[in-house]
Amino acid sequence: MVTAAAILVRKGEELLPSGKVLDSAIIESIRRRAIRFIMVNVPDTRDEEAIRRDVEMAEKRLLHIFRGGGSEARAELQRAITAFRLRQAS
């Protein structure tokens, strides 16, 4: 398991770089520092067809839950959520 993004401490200093292998000593050190959340890279075993289906499902769901019009603020939120979901799906 490797970190997907650098872990920064409160003042912005880098505790662990992106791509660092997480062994048990490092995980314990993260726990001790009360870091509550890290992102890890999980190998993607999906083929292109599965990715295409996941993206299509995500787009369909977003269109459903954001049905109807709304304010510019709602449209801005929709853009942020769409980018997030499509990144997750692909």
Binding site: H64, I65, G68, F84
Partner: protein, 278 residues
């Protein structure tokens, strides 16, 4: 529209169980700097039914506690987080009216989603995160009140929402002369909860004027964000309207805030699992 007024509903508020003592203690001491962990643990230990569930939630990781916890004494490690965990556990366990038409587990999953979003927004704008979590957790208490007092009429609301794809507030105004946010806000005042919590509940569907302050704006944003992140597995989920004015007043830029989405989802998943709501 029924002749049943908000005053009538509140006069029959005893149809809904009151908040457990430990939850009442936590909420009323939210702004009390002298409230300490010893007092909280004392209250917690008077309610053994809650203790085991609190420990399971605390260990779930949803609240970011670093060490394993195996007694209420160790809960002193993180007072603020324990307040949130205890509150969520006690409230969800106590207030659970159910029928074929209404599943409180769905409502509580949604409420926990809003609570997690409220906490994240509060952290982003340097607002009281525990108060925001509490207001988020209780924001739909008015729906539970309406269901407990008048299940048939509230059933009509749910049917309208489903069949006409209306937002719940519009459906409520077609059946009652008020909505669940107003009912919940008034119930919070009746229960003598802090004014900011009542404002968050009352203002979550009515943010335009800003009359419910920062908490009203914050719970409104948290409500919309929770729908947008599809938290709560709501049947026929639809993202409500989002107030431009409320976003501007809180200074939320969704493109910047987006980096918190993945954390909100992860913590929501862990908490609902720990509370047995999945």
């Amino acid at each position: 529209v029924t002749a049943l007024t908000l005053t009538d509903i509140l006069a029959r508020a005893s149809a809904l169980p009151t908040l457990p003592e430990v939850a009442q203690y936590i909420i009323t001491t939210i702004d009390d700097e002298t409230a300490n962990a010893e007092n909280l643990v004392e209250h917690l230990n008077t309610d053994p039914a809650v203790v085991a569930r609190v420990l399971a939630s605390a260990n779930s990781g949803a609240f970011g506690l670093a060490n394993h916890i195996d007694s209420t004494r160790q809960l002193i490690l993180g007072l603020e987080k324990i307040r949130s965990i205890t509150l969520a556990t006690a409230v969800v366990d106590r207030i659970n009216p159910a029928s074929q038409a209404f599943n409180p587990r769905v409502l509580w999953r949604h409420s926990l989603g809003v609570a997690m979003c409220a906490r994240a927004i509060a952290e982003a704008i340097d607002f009281n995160a525990e108060a925001a979590f509490t207001a988020g957790l209780l924001h739909d208490i008015g729906q539970l009140l309406l269901f407990a007092v008048t299940p048939d009429l509230f059933g009509e609301v749910l049917t309208r929402r489903q069949n006409l794809d209306e937002c719940i507030v519009d459906a409520e105004h077609a059946v009652f002369d008020f909505d669940h946010a107003q009912a919940g806000g008034e119930l919070a005042r009746l229960w003598k909860l802090p004014a900011a919590i009542a404002d968050g509940i009352n203002g979550h569907h009515n943010p335009e004027s800003g009359e419910f302050g920062e908490m009203g704006d914050l719970i409104h944003l948290a409500e919309v964000l929770s729908h947008a992140l599809d938290l709560g597995e709501l049947p026929n989920n639809k993202v409500p309207e989002l107030s431009v004015a409320a976003c501007a007043r809180l200074g939320i830029d969704w493109q910047v805030f987006a980096r918190r989405f993945v954390e909100i989802e992860a913590r929501y998943d862990e908490l609902t699992l720990a509370l047995g709501l999945r």
